[in-house]
Symmetry: C2
Subunit: 461 residues, 2 copies
């Protein structure tokens, strides 16, 4: 720890835990992207809001860039520290601070894992309904930074909808206590919502109050086999009209093969080009009949070739694993990820155009599709062939992303549905946000982070 | 129309309708507050986004302050023009532009009345669930400007939750097309949410895309008579635990007397100090049994003295009228209004303190209470005695608001739950938002409205 700036930090915050070992710098300097070489100055592991404020004030004196860091499960490079930044890991600030039964809120520190939030809510007979596969390792602070979505958005919305209070240490070291758990509060600009989704570029989320809700109704999970892509929206509509959908996810046979290779059990004897896993409320005969009616309607129209419905929680989990295991099963192949969205109404035209685009652009690459079709959100994973170098692979994929971005712009979509912009999508921000919007964003960053120290180079330069 | 600046506007926007008659200046220069003397320069009634942009560009050249104006049903002076401003009335931009069945969205111009939105949604078998008594005359643009709440927040949230797209002409005349109806969009700062609740101080809302939802389930309305104030939260909890509440509103006997004097029918033979009107989902026997169980539980505990449940839609409407007629029945008495909120958990302590405060502060004034207790939102209306001048009355009320603001600050509440800050609550903003937050708000306004022309003097100076 010879850097004189760190000595200053040690003086300003005598109890602050700092790590500077090479292994720690690498571990804390990267997220699930593996495109950048970690090179942070050091890792700070504050245990309190006061320590976070001390770090930010010190950073302003010494002009040290800061990277807030949660579970580092991000897929856009938002938590990468490759430029000598100080990483602020929130992993020690991981406690539940309060549960309030009248407000039905849980107040937590930012480093708590999403799954720990789920468990804490369940202990009180309630639910925190945002959910996705990284639940065990992602942190709530990171969820807030990207306005995380996931598999229940169709029913419960994004993270944004569930945050009733937020404490933010801004880039100038001020602690803002935003909205404080109020249901109604019309007292000027809602800076809470400005912070949500800002990817650590305005400040550090140091506490959050989460709204909880009643546990979901009893549900069934159904896996559907689809003969072609163009029936997907028809199947979606048939199910949405009749059922209260908790989830509606699709994936391709390519995706399934990777999950099966990782040990999952094949759901059908035959293979099919496309699959849907959907979860919906049951609990009475009318709803069960509606589910069967939706299925039979789709079978009769030839939109669905086969199907299986869960008969137990264990079987429901098995069916979910086919969808949720995809990202993990692809990870060894270093996938290049696109996470895009359009309005649901624009989905058919966009899908058609994208299929044609990718078929032409990636003749030699394996492309794995899946996504949250009911939210208009598509994940496109391009797998690296072994005989192509990392750099060449990314460069080739970037060429296609340019075309995809142009297509998204035509269809009014977004280059990032739920992963955030970070480093990975920065070059394409202009396909989703106008020059005027980006200028306003820059101006706002200047207000909250006048010295430009909060996660610089992420989102925009 | 002799003001030379207006001649310039006429040249810049040849088809723009302008009004300068004294009666128009008065009509368009004020809202439901009657505290300020209207004195606008003129009234512009644009028919298109381009005309709004032309106005804002002209205003920047001539440094003319602008006041966006909807239905002017606001209660905080947010749409008052008393300083020579140009009023931009959106009343001609009042159409439904599009309905999309796949997205389940309605795209509207800002001047459309809330009730017209309700009707348009209903035509498509769907619901726009934000609702309150001014529905017939308030505009959706105004709802967005104050993040309007109302009587269904307990079930559906505030206006914010229902806006999936927003077009905003900023104070510098740029048109921002925000979020464009996307369900998932993690591409930088959500400026849509920044605009919602900004009370016209950042720009003019010129178009909105509203999310619709399934029609509510069949409901029953119940009116409950309460013997005292301290049982209110107990009754709320007893009902919330058992039922899916669509609304839970309370009012005092004082409030009821004003509504009855305006022609409503007395619900009970006896009078009671407090009343609750609640609406909840029924539709099956279990739910109806749960409603009766909640009622009987409250009766047994002595928390409720009497009750009536609606047997028809007409009776439900009659019961609702007792609550919804309050504001209108009080209007002739020029009430001084407080619209405050705390967390639900803080409600009992806050209510106790507020009762004591108001009892001591207003011994000679009639105080009428009502509110959305399930949202932590209390409306306190102080009625002007005939022998007190307007100015003296307001001055005396302001003294009490100071004490109320201090109490709110202690209880973590808000000086404006749903009416907005406008002119009326400006002096008390600091009780709800910290100096650091207000400084950030000022900085953000500077970014979007560099010449300070958008609704100046509202929210903050």
């Amino acid at each position: 720890m010879t850097d004189p700036r760190l000595e200053g930090l040690r003086r300003d915050a005598p109890d602050l835990r700092l790590k500077t070992d090479a292994a720690d710098l690498e571990h804390y300097g990267r997220d699930w992207t593996r495109r950048w070489t970690p090179a942070p100055l050091a890792i700070a592991l504050p245990a309190s809001i006061e320590e976070v404020q001390a770090i930010v004030r010190w950073a302003n004196v010494h002009r040290v860039a800061l990277v807030p860091s949660g579970g580092r499960t991000g897929l856009s490079g938002g938590a990468v520290a490759a430029q000598g930044e100080l990483v602020i890991s929130l992993e020690r600030m991981n406690r539940v601070l309060a549960f309030d039964p009248a407000d039905r809120t849980l107040t937590v520190q930012p480093g708590i894992a999403l799954e720990a939030v789920h468990n804490a809510a369940r202990e009180h007979g309630l639910t925190y309904p945002v959910d996705f596969a990284a639940r065990g390792s992602c942190s709530i602070g990171g969820n807030i930074a990207t306005n995380a979505g996931g598999i229940r958005v169709i029913r419960y919305g994004n993270t944004r909808e569930w945050i009733t209070g937020l404490k933010l240490v801004t880039g100038s070291g001020e602690l803002l206590d935003l909205n404080r758990g109020l249901v109604k509060n019309s007292s000027g600009y809602d800076l809470r919502h400005l912070a949500i989704g800002s990817e650590g570029t305005l400040g550090v989320v140091v506490e959050a109050t989460l709204r909880l809700t009643d546990p979901p109704p009893p549900t069934n999970v159904m896996l559907l086999a689809l003969p072609s892509f163009d029936v997907l929206m028809k199947v979606f509509t048939a199910f949405r009209e009749r059922l209260q959908l908790e989830a509606f996810e699709f994936f391709t046979d390519h995706a399934l093969r990777h999950v099966l290779a990782h040990g999952a059990q094949a759901p059908f004897e035959q293979t099919h080009p496309y699959y849907v896993v959907t979860e919906f409320a049951i609990g009475d005969e009318a709803r069960e009949a509606a589910a069967m009616a939706a299925f039979e309607d789709c079978m009769e129209h030839g939109w669905v070739s086969d199907g299986v419905i869960s008969q137990s929680d264990a079987q429901a989990a098995q069916l979910w694993r086919l969808r949720e295991g995809i990202s993990e099963s692809l990870a060894p192949r270093k996938p290049y990820k696109n996470d895009v969205s359009v309005r649901i109404s624009a989905m058919p035209a966009f899908l058609e155009e994208t299929q044609a685009l990718l078929g032409g652009a990636y003749p030699h690459f394996e492309v794995v599709w899946f996504g949250h079709i009911g939210d208009g959100n598509l994940h496109i994973n391009v797998l690296k062939p072994e005989d192509v170098s990392d750099a060449d692979f990314v460069a080739q994929c970037e060429q296609v992303t340019k075309l995809l971005a142009a297509s998204l712009q035509r269809h009014g979509g977004s280059i990032s549905a739920e992963h955030g912009i970070g480093l990975v999508k920065k070059a394409y921000l202009g396909s989703t946000r106008s020059a005027a919007e980006i200028a306003v964003m820059r101006g706002i960053k200047q207000v909250l982070d006048p010295n430009g120290l909060m996660n610089p180079g992420k989102l925009f330069d």
